[in-house]
Symmetry: C3
Subunit: 264 residues, 3 copies
Amino acid sequence: MSEAVSPTVSLPQDPAVDATIDADRLDDSLAVLGALVDECRLELAADGLHVRAVDPASVAAVSLDLPADAFEQYAANGETVGVDVSRLGEVVGLADPGDSVRLVLDAERRRLHVLVGELAYTLGLIDPEAIREPLDPAEMEYDCPAELAIAGSDVSRIVDAAEMVSTHLTLGVDADPAAFYAEASGDTDDVALAFDGDDLAALSPAAVESLFSLDYLREMARPIPADSEVTIALGTEQPVTLGFDLADGPGEATFLLSPRRSVA
Amino acid sequence: MSEAVSPTVSLPQDPAVDATIDADRLDDSLAVLGALVDECRLELAADGLHVRAVDPASVAAVSLDLPADAFEQYAANGETVGVDVSRLGEVVGLADPGDSVRLVLDAERRRLHVLVGELAYTLGLIDPEAIREPLDPAEMEYDCPAELAIAGSDVSRIVDAAEMVSTHLTLGVDADPAAFYAEASGDTDDVALAFDGDDLAALSPAAVESLFSLDYLREMARPIPADSEVTIALGTEQPVTLGFDLADGPGEATFLLSPRRSVA
Amino acid sequence: MSEAVSPTVSLPQDPAVDATIDADRLDDSLAVLGALVDECRLELAADGLHVRAVDPASVAAVSLDLPADAFEQYAANGETVGVDVSRLGEVVGLADPGDSVRLVLDAERRRLHVLVGELAYTLGLIDPEAIREPLDPAEMEYDCPAELAIAGSDVSRIVDAAEMVSTHLTLGVDADPAAFYAEASGDTDDVALAFDGDDLAALSPAAVESLFSLDYLREMARPIPADSEVTIALGTEQPVTLGFDLADGPGEATFLLSPRRSVA
C-alpha cells in the first residue's frame, strides 16, 4: 500500500528494519513464542530474526531463528525490539492465506509498522530492558546423552494421554532394548507410551529418565506442526529439549523445559 | 405435509399469507434483521416482503426487501405481522440445505405456521403496535456525498482490525488521491486501512469523515456475505449506510448507523 | 506393541479377556452407554460383549450387544467388569482413524489394559457390585403395539424442534391415516412433526400416545448415527424403545425411556 492512500501511516524514510514475510510463516513463529511468553525481545540481526526467551517462572525457555532467506525481503542491522507477542500474532492473523506481511521499524518513535494488504497496524514497542533476561547460553549446558526424533503428532498424543491421569509425566529412554517412553500415574489409572526404533526417525539410546510438568508440555506441543519431526534430547534429572523446523525448513525453534523433582 | 398426518396443525382455509421460500434465503434475511432487533414487523405486501426496523437505542436502522419473485411461491395482500426474529430464525435453521420453508399466516388466531418438511412450527405473533416504530423515511435524508463499493469480507476485516485497538472507528474518504479509509486509535497502537480506486468496485470521492461505534458495525458485518459487494455512502458527521444484495440478487438490505460525536 | 519396549505395562500371561476391535466401532458403542450412565458393567461373554444399564434416576435404560464377530479378535469366558464409561471413551478417543484397540483384562489385579498403537492405558476397574443393578428383563414387558422405523437424523430433528418450545414432548401414532407424530407445546408456540407411511421405513400403526422428557431423548439422540435406521416401539402411557444397529450391523443397541405422567 502507498502512503498516499493512508492518511494516518507515515513510514520512516530510512527504516532500521524493513522485512517482508509470508503471513502463515510469521504466524507459526509467533505461536511458538506465545506458548511461553506474552512479551519478548526480537533481535533483528543482519542475518535474520533471533529470539531467546524464558517463561515468567523460569521453568521453560524457547529459542527461535528465522534466517534472512526465510523472508521474501529482509533488511535489518541488529535492532532489538520488545513486542507484545500475542498482539502481534492477532494482527498477522488478520491476513488472508497467501498474504505477505511487511514489518517496518520506526526506531525513533519506537513503533513497528505491520502492513498487510490494505491494513497498516502501528504496534507500540516495549522497552527491551523491561523484558526479563533470557537464559545465559553459558548456563544452558546440560547432560542429555539420549537423543531421538518423533513426529509432532506423537508429542501431542503423549501429552493428551498423560493429562488423563496426572499433572506431570516421566520421559525416558531405555538402552536395551532401545526405546523412548513416556509414563504418567494417577490414583486409579496409569498411562505408558513406548516407541521403539521402528517408531522413531532417530534414536541414540542411553538409560535416562526425568519428570516434567504437563502444563508446560501442553503449551509447547500446541504450536508444533503435527507432521514435523521433533528432535528430543533427554538426560536424568535434566531438562528436555524439543527442536523442530519452522517455515518448512529455513527456520528452527527449540523449547527447553526444566525437570521436576520426582516425588519419591 | 398434509393436515391429515399432523393432528395438531390446522391450517386456515384461506390464509392471508401463503409463501414458500428457500430456507437458506430466508435464514440469511432473518440474520440481517437479527443483527439489530429481536422483534420486528414484517410487511407482507402483494409485491413481496418489506421490513423497516430501528434498534432499541435508535442508533441504527435496517431496511430489507424481498420481492415476490425471491419466493418459490408467494401470496399476500398487505398484512403486517410482528415476529420474534431470532425465534423464527431458529425454526428455519432446522431445515436441511435445499429445503423450502412455507409460511402460512393465520390472521384470526394471530399465528404464523412455519412448515419445513415434516415439521410444523406454530409461531405466536406479536402485536405490531407493541414494536417500536421504524424511522420515518422523511427523517432519513442525509448529506452523504461520498459513495463506494467494497467486498463484504473487507467490511469484516475493517471491524476485526479496529476492534483490536478501540471501541470506535473513523470511516472517511479522500478526494485526491481518491481513497476510502478506516482508522482507529488505541492507547499504544493504531490501525489504518486504506482502499484506493484499484481496491474498490466503485468510488465517487469527496472529502468526508465520520466516527462510528464498533459494537454496531460488528453486528452489521456479521450477516453480510463475504463475497457480496457492499455499497457504502458517507458524509461528514453523517450516518453511514451499508447496502448489499440478499438472496443472490432479488432481495436487498441496507444498514444505517448514526455517527458518534468525535471526542476532540 | 511388545512388552519389552514399555517398562510399565506387564500384561497377564493368560488373560481372562483379550479382544481387539476397530477404535471407531468401540467409541460409538461407548458413546451409546455414556448417554445414560457414567459407570456400567461390561459382560464379556464367550459370544461377545453384552451391556445392560439403567440411569441413576431409573427413568431410562440401555442394552447393547457387540457379538464376537464385531471384533477383529475376541477371546473371553464370561467375565463381568465395572468400568468408567466416559474415561474409557476418552482413552479410545486418542486412537487415530483406522486404529485398532486391544483390551486385555488383568482379572487378578482388577485392571483393564487398553492398548492403542504405542499407547498402553491401564484402567482401574470398578467393583461390579458397586454399580446399580440393571432392570430385570422380566420387569421389562410392555404393551407397545405400534412400531415404526425412521432415520436417526429425524430423531435428532424431533428433539431439536421440540426443545424450542418445551421440556417434554408427546410421541404418538395414528392408525388411520397411518402416521407417526411428535408434538410439543409451549407458552406461545407449538411444534408438531408428522411422518406418514412414505416418510417411514416401516410402520405398524395403532392409536397410541405417550409423554416423554426431552432431556433424556436429547442424550439418547446424540450417539445415534444420523444415517442409521431407528426402530421405535410405542404404546399409551408406556415406555418408548429406540433400537438401532451398531458397528454397521453386527452390533445392536436399544434405549428405553419411561413415560412421564401427562399434566392434564
